[in-house]
Amino acid sequence: MIKKYLGSRWSPFVATFSVILFFYLKDALATTSVVATSITFGLPLAMAAMVGIMCERTGIVNIGIEGTLLVSSFIGFFVASVSGNLLVGLFAAVCMGAVSGLLLALLSVTWKMDQIIAGTIINILATGLTSFFYKQGHTLPSTFPEIDIPGLSAIPFFGPVLFMHGPLTFLGFFLILVLWVALYFTPWGLRSRSVGEHPGSADTAGVSVVRMRYLNVTIAGAFGGLTGAYLTLELVGSWDRGFSAGRGFTALALMIFGRWNPLGALAAALFFGVAQAITNQLMITEVVTIPLQFTNMLPYVLTILILAISAGKVRAPAAEGQPYEKESA
């Protein structure tokens, strides 16, 4: 039962754990730090992938995730900087994300615009607006502090990896689990999936396709806002032009690799995070010297690889990308 919902995506887990074990036996300290870093790298991608899952499960393609991350991290950073309060910044980022989701819903559900174009509009708007209003010289009062869970964080390896993170990291993991449970075990999930697979059957069962799509795309936007806030207010602590660095697009690839399943996408994102953390470690320790351009390429190369591997093997929600028209005549 449970296995079915995991989307049979065990292979990344197995591969990851055997690699970790191998290195842990050789160098415990470095390995612990690499794995902890990989969570830091992987989580924002996983969270961004959830935005895509929530939208696409109801049949809306969202390629505007990148824009949502960019604009919400921007707002989050500057509101926190000006107000001097991280929570106010967090709130502003989530609201901004929700607004970008609402915009996507307006364009693609109400006005039935091509969803790829609607998403592109959001990306272009986000890049333009943030570049235009960007001012140098702002700093944050602080970032969200790390929380060490008493007792658990003292466990070797698992302590630093799982129980020593900022509050938004814990919140992010928790919400991904919530989304998985909600998608497969609640009426909301059943209705959402039916709207994305066959909107006609939802409509005739009295489920409003329009309302469902608005609701989910907006919630997804807010979740994207949270991701943006995490990036700037907890992970990095600053903001610069092009801050989201293609994470929104990588997230879409991870969503596909994870078969539109929250846990599958999470696993894919963590695998991705590990790959990146290992490269970083190799660079820092100067075990190998690769030109910076190549390491910077890594996310994009991996994205292409992932998509090439999963092409043709996964099945997208059937009604994805199509505006819903009640039958006429």
Binding site: T186, S201, D203, A205, A329
Partner: protein, 503 residues
């Protein structure tokens, strides 16, 4: 006087340029089966969708058990006990039967769906109405008849007083139709009112208590099966006398023209659809292929006409092998094709009728001289064919897309049958065509036969195959399972063969 279950008063619905329903009033009582009979485009579907709130009528009143239902209020209709089984199934293919049935009104425990209760409910429902289903099966793996059962259960779950069925028999085998008619009778016996749509006279007469005939959006007659017969109903539907039985003389079959040898063809998913096919069609005969749709008929037709690769085997015309995947050369060798999907493969909707009439010979004399098209020849050809094939159009310059279904099909038939051909492959030649045009197209196919063509007819309508064919081949699972003589073919026997049963 007791209030009727459903009472429609003066329902009118207009679409731009078309009046779908005009001033229609009707009632359905408890336990009564009312059939809505009419041609395609007569407004049957619009009317029942108005009852279910999927279409908003411009004027008129809908009352269910005396309660006035606001126009376009699906939730209100459901709340007052209306259930609907749609013509196109409204099921989520990748989900289980249980998930599909509970969608929209899920039994819960706390925040979660109570899957155990849901499953039990489906089983109880299936027991109560005697409709066997497997609650855990995934819908897309089930046969069409089973999917329809799920649709009916879905509707019945909401304690319906009135069940609406929109063309429920269109996709079923004769056996499945008989089963369905029994289900409908049992439901009526248990007090449910049934309103069902059909354009098949036979089943309407078999099951209905009352028959309402629609024509051009108006209710033109209300009758009962006792007071009426097939001819009378057809007359009401079309507005003139219709000859239901195709009048044709004895076939004078001559030499074999089309022969298919060991043909293997794949479907779109690359699965084998036609497996080792042998078939001979003689000049001067109509060979009808009967079968439930999806048993390889489409792939067979497309492979013959060069539109789909032949994996193995060959198709010969008068002993000469036809090229694979080359529709143009196949046509040049004498195979005419009336395709199943006229919108997609038969016509260019944005071209004029005169251009559509020469789609497969526009570059040959007299329609072209070298590089230059001959407008005069085009026009005279179009004028002749429009008259000869009774294509009702304001002008030969009208675009094909603007015509009605029947007239579009007549354009295709005119183009394919006006040329001298050895073989005519007709796939679903009268699908979505009005009764009057059906009669005409049938006569044209018989005329082509009498002129010495070998006609291969593929149709999902068993009645069509029975009335036209000189020989009948029954297709199941990509093979021909039986050949029968057209004259004394037994309907029930063919039905069993179509369902894959041996005899």
């Amino acid at each position: 006087m007791k209030t009727p279950l459903l009472e429609l008063t003066n329902i009118t619905k207009k679409y731009p340029g078309v009046i779908a329903n005009e001033d229609i009033s009707l009632t359905v009582n408890k336990g009564e089966i009312v059939a809505l009979l009419g041609e395609n485009g007569a407004g049957k579907s619009t009317l029942v969708k108005a009852v279910f709130g999927l279409v908003r009528p411009d004027s008129g009143e809908i009352r269910i058990n005396g309660h006035l239902i606001a126009p376009g209020d699906t939730a209100g209709a459901i709340a007052h006990g209306v259930g609907m089984v749609h013509q196109h199934f409204q099921l989520v293919p990748v989900m289980s039967v249980t998930d599909n049935i509970i969608l929209g009104d899920e039994p819960t425990r706390g925040l979660f769906i109570n899957k155990r209760a849901a499953r039990a409910e489906v089983l109880a429902l299936s027991e109560k109405y005697g409709l066997q289903v497997d609650p855990d099966a995934i819908v897309e793996n089930l046969p069409v008849g089973m999917q329809q059962r799920i649709e009916i259960l879905k509707a019945l779950r909401k304690d319906v007083d009135l069940l609406i069925l929109d063309e429920p028999t269109a996709v079923l085998t004769p056996q499945e139709i008989d089963e369905l008619l029994n289900v409908i009778r049992n439901l009526a016996k248990s007090g449910v009112g049934v309103l069902f749509i059909s354009h098949k006279l036979r089943e309407v007469i078999a099951v209905a208590d009352r028959i309402v005939v629609l024509r051009n959006g108006k209710a033109v007659g209300i009758t009962t099966p006792k007071e009426s017969d097939e001819e009378g109903l057809a007359h009401l539907m079309v507005g003139r006398d219709v000859v239901l039985q195709v009048e044709k003389g004895e076939a004078k079959a001559k030499e074999v023209v089309l022969s298919i040898r060991n043909l293997h063809v794949n479907d779109d998913r690359k699965l084998t659809a036609v497996t080792g096919f042998d078939l001979d069609v003689h000049a001067g005969e109509i060979l009808g292929i009967a079968g439930v749709e999806g048993n390889g008929q489409r792939e067979l037709v497309e492979a013959i006409c060069g539109m789909r690769p032949r994996i193995k085997g060959s198709v010969l015309v008068s002993g000469v092998e036809t090229p694979d995947m080359h529709p143009r050369r196949v046509h040049a060798m004498g195979i005419s094709h009336i395709p199943e999907d006229r919108e997609k493969h038969g016509l260019v909707a944005s071209y004029s009728i005169e251009d559509n009439l020469v789609l497969n010979q526009f570059d040959q004399p007299p329609f072209a001289k070298g590089w230059i098209r001959n407008a005069y020849a085009l026009e005279s050809n179009a004028n002749t064919l429009v008259k000869e094939f009774d294509i009702r159009t304001p002008s030969i310059k009208t675009t094909a897309g603007a015509l009605s279904g029947g007239n579009k099909q007549k354009v295709v038939v005119a183009r394919e049958l006006s040329q001298k051909t050895k073989v005519v492959v007709a796939a679903q030649p009268t699908r979505g065509v009005d009764v009057g045009s059906i009669e005409f197209i049938h006569n044209q196919l018989v005329a082509a036969r009498d002129n010495g063509a070998a006609v291969l007819l593929v149709s999902a309508e068993l009645d069509e195959v029975l009335s036209l064919s000189d020989r009948i081949a029954v297709m199941f699972g990509g093979k021909i399972v039986a050949f029968l003589d057209g004259k004394d073919a037994d309907r029930a026997k063919i039905g069993r063969l179509m369902a894959g049963l041996s005899e």
